[in-house]
């Protein structure tokens, strides 16, 4: 059997999810082909090393794929998929944008957000904001799946690079959709999805200025910054920092929730963290229920103290 693994990247570097996706793909009884579609991204092929299951990289290098559109990527996948038994992509805004479109064009059902691969056709995924886990047998001939990177530990790769097969752009662009521009966040801290420590702030921070406290604490710990929906809605920080059912799903070693109440939609994004610390002035806040360590009190006293204590080390 054969797997087509669609890699997320920005032409210069691979998304951290790539190596988790590879270890997930290794669980399937099939040989892996990696698809890299982008522009001037050939150096990325060198990260994929030969092993018993990784066969080759398919590279589509074209200016049209600088910031690829769902319409074009889906058309590319539709063209390649019939040779494969599995088509995988990360359950990110990238993967979720393209895979359902391609699957539907091929008349296939697919599964989103796969957390566990049990057998060749048996998968578990979360529903109801992760309050229920559903185990599904997918009977389609080509199994399209988006996978949660945080549920699979990243694979390390060594050795000789795999062969690269270049394909010329096979897609007729209709150009009914056009990329205009993007405003990308410049990350000065670890990426949320691969960070070992995350400091997340909520509405309790009150305003953007105060939210800097979260950033200061994060910098003390070499941590990533995250936020609740309320903090993003209020403009303390941009949308790409939201953690939860409809934001990013993370699973760091340490998650410190500051001024976050712990709504189920927020818990959906962080409850698989190894150790959870909650700082909240309300002793009954639901966040304390799943927290390993809780501090009840005013975050404006506690966080500066925490920063000062860490300074002593």
């Amino acid at each position: 059997m054969k797997t087509l693994l669609i890699v997320e990247h920005n032409n210069e570097s691979l998304n951290a999810s790539t190596f988790s996706m590879l270890s997930a793909a290794m669980l399937l009884p099939s040989i892996i082909t990696v698809l890299i579609a982008g522009s001037q991204c050939e150096p990325l092929t060198a990260f994929f090393k030969k092993n018993e299951k990784i066969e080759k990289v398919i590279l589509l290098d074209s200016p049209d794929y600088q910031t690829p559109l769902a319409e074009d990527l889906a058309a590319l996948i539709v063209k390649l998929a019939p040779e494969y038994d599995y088509v995988l992509a990360p359950a990110s805004t990238f993967g979720k944008n393209i895979l359902p479109r391609a699957a539907a064009i091929l008349g296939l059902s697919m599964l989103s957000d796969v957390l566990h691969i049990h057998e060749a056709d048996l998968f578990t995924r979360p529903i109801y904001a992760g309050n229920v886990l559903e185990t599904v047998r997918l009977k389609e001939k080509i199994k399209f799946l988006t996978l949660r990177p945080s549920s699979f530990s990243p694979m390390s790769m060594q050795g000789e690079a795999v062969p690269v097969e270049k394909i010329a752009d096979p897609i007729v662009h209709e150009r009914r959709a056009q990329f205009i521009d993007h405003e990308l966040t410049v990350y000065s801290r670890p990426e949320l999805q691969s960070a070992r420590t995350i400091i997340a702030g909520g509405r309790g921070l009150q305003n953007k200025e105060n939210f800097k406290l979260i950033e200061q604490l994060a910098d003390k710990l070499g941590a990533a910054v995250g936020a609740s929906r309320a903090a993003v809605d209020a403009g303390f920080i941009s949308n790409d920092f939201q953690i939860g059912q409809t934001g990013k799903v993370v699973a760091p070693d340490l998650y410190i929730a500051v001024g976050i109440s712990g709504a189920i939609q927020h818990l959906a994004g962080m409850k698989n963290s190894k150790v959870v610390v909650a700082i909240n002035k309300d002793p009954d806040a639901p966040i304390f229920q799943g927290a390993d360590y809780g501090l009840v009190g005013d975050l404006f006293e506690i966080v500066p103290q925490l920063i000062a204590e860490l300074d002593k080390d």
Partner: protein
């Protein structure tokens, strides 16, 4: 110009979910049901585009049992001009939902179809993209801003690394993210008026869609293991100590 908005009846996002005693499925009996929050946002955006004179008619559509009429009445109370229930008791998995919506679009010829980015029950985040693929229309998913210019839409999308702006030629499919707008409330007079607005019922047969069973089977559902409650500590010093020596994460 017509806009079609897909609104799903789902369990209230703030209620606690349980499984049936035999563990076979989620027990929705007697739980409060609402319009999927993302669909409320999608509907609000269509209403605003109508108020700006960019589109003339907003049609709400829901798929499901007769109970979904309640969701459609809510859509009418919020301001939709008319509503359509595609009535079926069959299992509505994303691909069949997309096929039914595509067939309806074939009959109504809307220029814009708005959906939520995901239904908060099944959390699939698939139907909008599938529909766009089936219709071969451009798609703007997870949008947080929409501007309509003649025959094009300019949309801002929330992506994992920030925001992306696309220009889409109509007809197009959009799916809403949380920050697109804040939906209005239905006022009492509008709730009363909604009772007079047209709500029609269609069947999958009328749309000539064969209700094939999905090519997958739910083997089991279960509640994930709950995180155990930990301890409340008295001081920052104690927290640092615990994180170092007990949890070993510092």
């Amino acid at each position: 110009m017509k806009a079609l908005v897909a609104v799903k009846r789902v369990v209230d996002p703030y209620v606690k979910i349980h499984l049936k005693p035999d563990g076979s499925a989620v027990d929705l009996n007697s739980l409060k049901m609402v319009m999927n929050p993302f669909d409320e946002i999608a509907l609000e955006e269509a209403l605003r585009l109508r108020e700006q004179g960019k589109i003339q008619e907003v049609i709400a559509v829901s798929l499901g049992s007769v109970a979904s009429q309640e969701t459609l009445r809510h859509a009418l109370a919020l301001g939709a001009d008319s509503a359509i229930l595609i009535q079926t008791d069959a299992w509505l998995y994303p691909l069949i939902t997309a096929k039914l919506l595509a067939a309806l679009a074939g009959q109504l010829s809307p220029q814009l179809i708005m959906l939520g980015k995901q239904a908060i029950d099944s959390d699939n985040n698939q139907v909008g993209q599938m529909l766009a693929g089936l219709l071969n229309w451009p798609q703007g998913t997870f949008v947080s801003r929409v501007t309509m210019e003649a025959d094009r839409l300019v949309v801002k999308r929330e992506i994992d690394t920030g925001l992306e702006t696309l220009s889409l030629q109509l007809p197009a499919v959009l799916t809403s993210d949380l920050r697109l707008n804040t939906p209005r409330y239905a006022t009492l007079p509008n709730i009363v008026k909604a009772k007079q607005k047209p709500l029609s019922v269609m069947t999958p047969e009328q749309l000539q869609v064969v209700m094939e069973a999905p090519h997958y089977e739910v083997i089991k559902v279960e509640m994930p293991r709950a995180r155990k409650s930990g301890v409340k500590l008295n001081s920052v010093a104690e927290l640092i100590e615990k994180l170092k020596t007990e949890a070993k994460v510092l």
